[in-house]
Structure formats: structure tokens, C-alpha cells
């Protein structure tokens, strides 16, 4: 790549005109790929298999390639490379334009630290990456300590000390339920904290308090489980809805109304159904081929799942 192109890569402007990647053919291929790869990932429900692994590795490779360009265009170029380049030019009296606040020679420090970080790939110089890690870890620790103390320790303590166990309603009268809730929350916090203190033996009154702590913990974990079920099922609903929409012959009214007026969505032409049949056939064929390789022996049960 010549220098003029590299310089142009750093130039700014506006959005390019519609490209072939926004056209109808690209949208149709994209839709079928999306459905195909979704179903390929769902084959994991049967067991870990080559079709799932293929989709998984395509995902890993493509997302990292994508990340690389996003990183360059969204941060490295506008936050480091260009400001540093402009600052260096200004330093040698060849400014590229009026100076901007972020164009400072101090950027040499993160540039060097980034360089050190990448030296991790060169075994002989890999130790220099420790300097970068040390700065990052040390600075994070220094920033975090006072903020954590205030946010997670002082603030809740302040709440309990300020309100104690007496609540009032809007009219200023004593509120029974509110006061009970304040008391219960305070008791719960203390009991759970005592449960987690393992340096004192849990017997006698300590045992009773720790048991109370366990009750609060169990209710908390139960609530978390309830919410987790909701989260996972919401994702499933979204995905199944998407597969159902793509099992139709035409795009849904919802998709049509959400699309830009000049770029209507493609019709799925029963993509889900066709691809479901194809993927089931592929899984069966792979299983039969595997059995054939194993000399026709019937395997002793399916392989255990890796998750769940």
C-alpha cells in the first residue's frame, strides 16, 4: 500500500453512497447465512458436533477480525495515532491544522506503553510488557480504592445509620411496614456478614445469627435464580421469534415497517424450514459417517453435554 493511501486512511469525511453490500442479493444471502448459522449453533442441543464447532469457529474468527477494524477506526486512530501525528508535526513546526486540545506530546507515553505491550509476542523482549501491565494495574488499583470505599461501604453504612429502623410515611406518621423492612434489611446485612466470618466458630448465638444469614442468602440466591430463568428464556424467545419470522414466505409487516423506506427487507422464502431440514440431514450424515469409521459399533450413549 503506498503512502498516499495510508494518509487517506486517516482522513475524515461522511458516509459513502449505498454499496453492493446493502443491495438485495447481499441481504438475501445474509438472511440465509444468519438462519443457517443460528440453527448450526442450536445443533449443540443434540451434542457437541462438527457443525456447531464450525459455526463457533467462524464466529470467533470473524468477530476478532471485526474487532480489529473497529479498534483501529474507533479509538486507536482518532485517540492516539492522529493526535500524536499532529502533535509531532506541530512540534517540528509543520502543523496539519489548528491545534486541538487532545494533540499533545504526552501521547508518546501511552504509545510507548502500547508498543511495550505488543513486545509480549517477542520472547526476548516480552519482559518490557510488564511495565505496561504494571502501570495499568497500579493505576486501576489507585483509582479504585477510595471510590470502592465510598460506593460500597460508606454509602450503605450511611443509609443504615441515617434511617436506622424507624420509617415514616408521607404524612410523617410512623410506618410499621417500612420500619419492619428497615429492621429486616439491617438484620439481614449483619447476619450474612457474620455468616461469612469464618475466623470465629459458628456455635451458640453466633450459630443462630449465621443461620439467619443463610436464610437471607437462600432467599437472595432464589431470587437470582428466578431472574436468571427469565433472562435466558427472554433470549430464547427472541431467537425463536426470529426463526419463526424467517420460516414464512414473506417478510413480516414488522420488519417492513422497521426497514428504511428505500431498502425493504428481503423475503425469507421459508429459509428456516429449508435450512432446518438441511442441517438435520447433515447431522445425521455426520453421525452415520462417524459410526461407519468406528466399525459399525453402536456407541454407549451420547457424549455428555459440555454445559447445562
Amino acid at each position: 500500500m503506498n503512502l498516499s493511501v495510508l494518509t487517506m486512511l486517516a482522513q475524515e469525511g461522511a458516509t459513502p453512497p449505498p454499496s453492493v453490500w446493502q443491495g438485495h442479493t447481499a441481504a438475501v444471502i445474509g438472511l440465509w447465512l444468519a438462519v443457517g448459522f443460528t440453527l448450526a449453533i442450536y445443533t449443540f442441543l443434540y451434542k457437541d458436533n462438527p457443525i456447531f464447532k464450525f459455526a463457533e469457529h467462524v464466529f470467533v474468527g470473524a468477530s476478532n477480525g471485526y474487532l480489529l477494524w473497529q479498534a483501529w477506526h474507533q479509538t486507536v486512530k482518532p485517540n492516539l495515532v492522529m493526535p500524536l501525528w499532529h502533535a509531532l508535526r506541530a512540534a517540528v513546526h509543520h502543523p496539519a491544522g489548528p491545534p486541538q486540545p487532545n494533540e499533545t506530546l504526552w501521547l508518546i507515553v501511552p504509545a510507548v506503553l502500547c508498543l511495550f505491550l505488543f513486545l509480549r509476542f517477542i520472547p526476548k523482549a516480552a519482559w518490557l510488557s510488564r511495565w505496561s501491565f504494571a502501570f495499568y494495574v497500579g493505576a486501576s488499583a489507585g483509582n479504585m480504592i477510595p471510590l470502592q470505599v465510598v460506593a460500597y461501604i460508606f454509602k450503605p453504612m450511611d443509609f443504615h445509620l441515617r434511617y436506622g429502623i424507624v420509617a415514616h410515611d408521607a404524612d410523617g406518621h410512623f410506618a410499621w411496614l417500612g420500619s419492619f423492612n428497615l429492621l429486616a434489611t439491617l438484620v439481614g446485612v449483619i447476619a450474612v456478614l457474620i455468616y461469612f466470618v469464618f475466623s470465629i466458630e459458628h456455635k451458640g448465638p453466633v450459630k443462630a445469627v449465621a443461620r439467619t444469614g443463610v436464610i437471607f442468602l437462600m432467599i437472595g440466591f432464589g431470587a437470582s435464580f428466578g431472574y436468571t430463568v427469565m433472562a435466558r428464556q427472554s433470549l430464547l424467545i427472541g431467537k425463536v421469534q426470529n426463526l419463526i419470522d424467517n420460516a414464512r414466505s414473506e417478510a413480516t409487516e414488522d420488519a417492513k415497517s422497521n426497514a428504511p423506506p428505500d431498502n425493504p427487507p428481503p423475503n425469507p422464502h421459508h429459509a428456516t424450514l429449508w435450512l432446518l431440514v438441511a442441517i438435520i440431514a447433515a447431522v445425521v450424515a455426520l453421525e452415520m459417517a462417524k459410526k461407519g469409521r468406528e466399525g459399525g459399533e453402536v456407541p454407549q450413549g451420547a457424549a455428555p453435554p459440555q454445559t447445562g
Binding site: 475524515e12 469525511g13 461522511a14 458516509t15 442441543l45 468477530s63 471485526y66 474487532l67 473497529q70 479498534a71 474507533q74 479509538t75 482518532p78 485517540n79 493526535p83 486541538q100 486540545p101 487532545n102 493505576a139 486501576s140 483509582n143 479504585m144 471510590l147 470502592q148 465510598v150 460506593a151 454509602k155 450503605p156 450511611d158 443509609f159 434489611t185 437472595g220 431470587a223 437470582s224 431472574y227 436468571t228 430463568v229 427469565m230 433472562a231 435466558r232 428464556q233 427472554s234 433470549l235 430464547l236 424467545i237 427472541g238 431467537k239 425463536v240 421469534q241 419463526i244 422497521n258 428504511p260 453435554p305 447445562g308
Partner: protein, 276 residues
């Protein structure tokens, strides 16, 4: 595991029943309104109280993995903001994959609500470093965002008028599938005193309930239920409201799974000593 469970309870049966319940209920779906709870209303009220033209920052900290839960939430919030004529600035602390998703959501919502790019909203970039990124924009916005997501200079974006640092935002909404909310809490609320609202995946919701009574967050939208409640508050039923009947049915199915699992387990256990 009991023999009954082994016979009747292979994961295939569970998967099959669940798949069937989801598919059938989606085919015959009926929207059910889900009234907002005080926890969700905390976010709604905070947006409602903002004066017209105020800047609001939305940190879109999720990628396609949590799209089903958080997209309806973000769309309802955006619609509410624009109805109140607020200037919406969107950024992300989550991953490089988050901003393209945010762009899609914002542009679709903008079309629906007649909002104009750079005037009613502006898209910024993804920033890594979590707490460091929040601290940096707390000192100087332009140090991290010298230009927008679409590479426009800040000076050319009317929506960014008067914004030089994080503290200039009247309200910050973190819509997240990660622990980025901790960075907003530490950097934003604790260090710079911003007002924070939280919309998160249901998995994370219970972890952030303690921030409610201490007023470290104004309200909390947890998962699809939170999104459906917000849709109900803004009277704009969308995908979250549509998904609620299916969600109800799945929850009942899972409760039945738990009950059936226990019955089979204890039935098997009782039979074992008899056989011995």
C-alpha cells in the same frame, strides 16, 4: 438420579417440551400489558423530570448476545426521551460489537419518532477501560471522544452543545449486560455526582437492588419484564410486551419441571429402600 428420572427425564424431553411451548405460544401470541412497578418508575420519573432540551447520556453496554432483553428496553427509553425533547448521546463501554448494534437501534427508533441525527441524538464510540474511560470523560469529554461514531467533529454536532464533560449530562442511563454499571457507579455517581439509571439483563438485576434504597441509582429495569413495564409506562407496547405471555408460559413450564423433577426424585428414593 431415580430410574424414573432416567427414563422420563432425559434432557431431550425437557428441551422438546420447552421448544414446543416457546414456538406454539409465539405462533398464537397475544400482548398483555404489564403495569410498571416503583423500581421501574424510578427511571421513568427521572426522564420525565428533565427540562426540555436537556442532554441525556445512554451507555449502550451490550452486544447481540443480550439483544432480545435490552433492545426493547432501549427503544422504549429512546422514544420517551424524544417525546420529552431531550438530546440523547449514545456511547458504549462494553465491546466494539456494541456500537453497531446501538446504531441500528437508535436509527430505527429515530425513524419511528421523527428524531434527527446530530440534532436530537448523536452516536459516540466504544471506549474500553471501564472505570478509566468514565474518569477520563469526567475530566474532558473531547479527550476520549474527539469525534462522533460517524467521524464528525464535536463542534459540528448541535446535540453536543454545552457538553464538555460527563457532569454536563443531566441524567445517565446505563443499559448493560456487563459490570460496566460498576464503573458508572464508581466513576460517574461517586466521583462526579451524576444521576444514574440502570437497565440491565435479568441475570444481573438482583445484584443491583442494594443501590436503590441508597439512591445510588434512581431506578432499575431488569430484563424483558423491566422493558415491558417501561413500554407500559410510556404507552408504547413493543416487543417486550409481545414477549410477556410467552415468558409467563415458560415460567410456569419451568416451575412444573421443578415440581415434576422433585416428585420423580422422591418417588424413586422411596422405592429404593423397598427394593432393597
Amino acid at each position: 438420579m431415580s430410574p424414573e428420572l432416567k427414563k422420563l427425564g432425559p434432557r431431550w424431553v425437557v428441551f422438546g417440551i420447552l421448544g414446543l411451548v416457546v414456538t406454539v405460544s409465539l405462533l398464537f401470541k397475544r400482548s398483555t400489558e404489564f403495569p410498571g412497578t416503583p423500581v421501574v418508575k424510578g427511571v421513568y420519573d427521572a426522564v420525565e423530570e428533565l427540562p426540555e432540551g436537556s442532554p441525556i447520556l445512554i451507555s449502550s453496554d451490550f452486544d447481540p448476545g443480550s439483544e432480545a432483553e435490552l433492545v426493547p428496553m432501549m427503544k422504549a427509553i429512546l422514544a420517551h426521551c424524544w417525546r420529552r425533547h431531550l438530546r440523547v448521546i449514545v456511547m458504549s463501554l462494553q465491546s466494539p460489537n456494541a456500537m453497531p448494534l446501538a446504531q441500528g437501534i437508535v436509527e430505527e427508533a429515530a425513524r419511528d419518532n421523527g428524531a434527527k441525527e446530530d440534532e436530537d441524538y448523536a452516536l459516540m464510540n466504544y471506549k474500553p477501560g471501564n472505570l478509566a474511560a468514565v474518569l477520563a470523560i469526567g475530566q474532558d469529554w473531547a479527550s476520549q471522544f474527539p469525534e462522533s461514531y460517524k467521524h464528525r467533529k464535536l463542534a459540528d454536532i448541535p446535540a453536543m452543545k454545552g457538553i464538555t464533560r460527563l457532569g454536563d449530562f443531566k441524567y445517565v442511563l446505563c443499559i448493560t449486560a456487563t459490570t460496566s454499571v460498576d464503573s458508572w457507579l464508581l466513576g460517574g455517581v461517586t466521583k462526579y455526582g451524576i444521576k444514574l439509571g440502570l437497565g440491565c439483563t435479568a441475570v444481573m438485576a438482583t445484584d443491583y437492588y442494594p443501590l436503590l434504597d441508597t439512591k445510588q441509582i434512581t431506578g432499575l429495569l431488569g430484563g424483558l419484564a423491566g422493558a415491558a413495564q417501561y413500554e407500559s409506562l410510556v404507552k408504547l407496547p413493543g416487543k417486550a410486551t409481545d414477549g410477556m405471555p410467552t415468558q409467563s408460559l415458560i415460567h410456569v413450564t419451568i416451575i412444573l419441571f421443578i415440581v415434576a423433577g422433585n416428585i420423580l426424585h422422591f418417588a424413586g428414593k422411596r422405592r429404593k429402600p423397598e427394593a432393597a
